[in-house]
């Protein structure tokens, strides 16, 4: 191809030559810019691995974050910063779990509702509302959760408030993936069930959900991976907690909140790399698992 093109360029005259050259230049432009667009992934991963990997050890997963003074003493006596991010892992775990318990069933039901009622006017409104929620800035959802839960339910920063903000973020993603998944299931399968006179809820539970399970799972994993790195709404709701806590009424820490705390504390700043590496690794693994599920289905 390129050989013939070169030949054509050599043979072409005047205007034609200009067009071929322009064409070639544009293609080079496209390739170069597309490659540049992907380079930040490598830059970021490289930096995180280079600086973070040496701090990841057994303590990293089993000890809570050190306080500033401890870290300063350890560093001045020549040792590494002690401690880990157990309080963050625990907090992230509890908040994501509670958010999932709320958002997954509700999102599934709403997604099924949209699939069943497709084009009705009310369904369109519900779909638009879900889109608006998906585009809403996470910090605004943090404000909402602060007013609803922190001020009126737990009367103080709490894991529950953090979970609420994360649940609102997960909801539209699960609604969308559920509807899209069910739309892809052939109607004939559903009709076969209807023809047998099976009641509607059994068609949902025994035919549609098992058939679309991989799609639903993908949506759920992507929703979780999307909220696991959220920092801003948790600053207004979960606040942070130096000890490991699973109490929904009390403040908890989260991995991204710990990164923010380390970043702001000159004595702890070296810990940002290992905790960021861990967080990015977690998100990417969730992403890759869900991608695998998709490709298997196809």
């Amino acid at each position: 191809m390129s050989k013939t093109l070169k030949l054509e360029i050599l043979q072409a005259t005047g205007n034609q030559k200009k067009r071929y050259i322009k064409n070639k230049i544009f293609q080079i432009f496209v390739v170069v810019f597309a490659i540049i667009a992907t380079t930040p992934v490598f830059f970021i991963l490289f930096e995180l691995i280079k600086k973070g990997i040496k701090q990841i050890n057994f303590d990293f997963f089993t000890k809570v974050a050190p306080d500033s003074f401890e870290a300063m003493m350890a560093v001045s006596s020549g040792k590494g910063i002690p401690g880990g991010i157990l309080n963050g892992i625990g907090g992230t775990l509890i908040m994501v779990t509670v958010a999932s318990i709320v958002a997954i069933p509700l999102g599934l039901l709403i997604g099924i509702f949209l699939y069943e009622n497709g084009k009705s006017r009310y369904a369109n409104i519900v779909r638009d509302v879900s889109d608006i929620l998906q585009g809403a800035p996470s910090i605004v959802l943090g404000i909402i959760s602060y007013i609803w839960i922190v001020k009126n339910v737990t009367h103080g920063f709490s894991a529950l408030a953090g979970s609420m903000a994360l649940a609102i973020m997960m909801l539209p993603l699960i609604i969308r993936s559920t509807e899209e998944t069910f739309k892809m299931i052939p109607n004939s399968i559903k009709e076969a069930g209807l023809a047998l006179g099976i009641p509607y809820h059994k068609i949902l539970l025994k035919i549609l959900i098992p058939t679309g399970l991989s799609g639903l799972l993908t949506g759920i994993l992507l929703a979780i991976s999307r909220v696991i790195g959220e920092t801003a709404p948790l600053m207004l709701t979960a606040l942070g907690n130096p000890t490991l806590s699973f109490n929904l009424n009390k403040p908890v820490d989260a991995v991204p909140l710990l990164i923010w705390q380390f970043y702001n504390d000159p004595n702890l700043v070296d810990l940002v790399w290992s905790s960021s590496l861990f967080l990015v690794f977690l998100v990417l693994v969730l992403n890759l698992i869900s991608k695998r599920i998709i490709s298997k289905r196809k």
């Binding site: 496209v30 009310y122 910090i139």
Partner: protein, 283 residues
């Protein structure tokens, strides 16, 4: 009551919870912002005085609104050449090949990196780099945040436009090729006109993302309360002023921050609405 009706009822109730949720969000924001709008009226939006000193408190959001608009638009402008090239790469030039798949996966990974990690990367690598290039604000500022924001929204700007570019019917392109058009001529005369509204819509949606980004911008923009003088000066955005000042806020200040949240919610909702509308018309 038979089981079919019960199931349908349950599904309807679930969907209605969503309507209640969004109404609750809007009402909460409005009632939280009410004291500010009662006191200052719409001058809250066009005044640039933000002074929380007790006794002479005064709140206006213009500085932050301007900061948000400049940062996001600049990010979009920086992002477009890259996003457009990537869409053409995946959806046109190397459609269906392994290279396109790899580039697509890498761009997806870009979307997975949390905002705070982008902030760290920007703080430790981009900021010193820009500082060495001769910026005089220690590398902080609107321009720095815009670059990081641009990287963050590339996946959003790319995904829908790629899909739409790859959907341009082959027979239209082939007709142009048969007339002797080069690939560039096919792209400018066939692909872009056919896919135009979809491409624009995906950039609008990316802009909506940029408006609400918080952490990365907060770490890089310098958080100054003065009106930005240009793209290289320090600034502040609506999202980052909320993140920075919400913790210690109460009374009128809290109400002002909620009012900023309300504005942000309305603006992003509006922008996303336009984007979705264009896509719907296109489809």
């Amino acid at each position: 009551m038979n089981s079919e009706k019960v199931t349908k009822r349950i599904l309807f109730i679930a969907s209605f919870i969503l309507i209640i949720l969004i109404s609750g969000i809007v009402l909460t924001l409005i009632s939280g912002a009410f004291p500010v709008f009662e006191k200052y009226g719409f001058s809250f939006i066009y005044s640039d005085k933000w002074d929380p000193t007790e006794g002479k408190e005064q709140y206006g959001a213009l500085t932050y609104i301007v900061g948000t608009v400049i940062t996001s638009l600049l990010a979009l402008i920086i992002c477009i050449p890259f996003a457009f090239s990537t869409s053409l790469f995946i959806g046109e030039y190397y459609k269906g090949t392994l290279v396109a798949k790899i580039i697509g996966t890498l761009i997806d990974l870009l979307a997975g990196v949390p905002s705070i990690v982008y902030g760290l990367w920007g703080f430790y690598y981009l900021r010193p780099l820009l500082f060495n290039l001769g910026e005089n604000t220690q590398g902080y500022g609107i321009f720095t945040s815009s670059i990081v924001l641009a990287i963050m929204i590339i996946p959003y700007a790319t995904s829908i436009s790629t899909e739409i570019i790859s959907l341009v019917p082959n027979h239209l392109k082939e007709a142009a090729y048969s007339l002797g058009a080069t690939r560039l001529e096919v792209i400018t005369n066939v692909t872009i006109p056919v896919a135009r509204s979809g491409i624009i819509a995906s950039y609008i949606l990316a802009l909506g993302r940029a408006l609400g980004e918080t952490m990365a911008v907060t770490m890089l923009i310098g958080n100054s309360n003065l009106m930005p003088k240009g793209i290289f000066s320090l600034g502040n955005t609506m999202a980052s002023v909320i993140a920075n000042q919400f913790g210690e806020a109460s009374g009128l200040k809290l109400s002002s921050l909620i009012a900023i949240g309300l504005l942000l919610f309305v603006v992003t909702g509006f922008i996303n609405g336009i984007g979705k509308l264009i896509i719907k018309k296109f489809a």
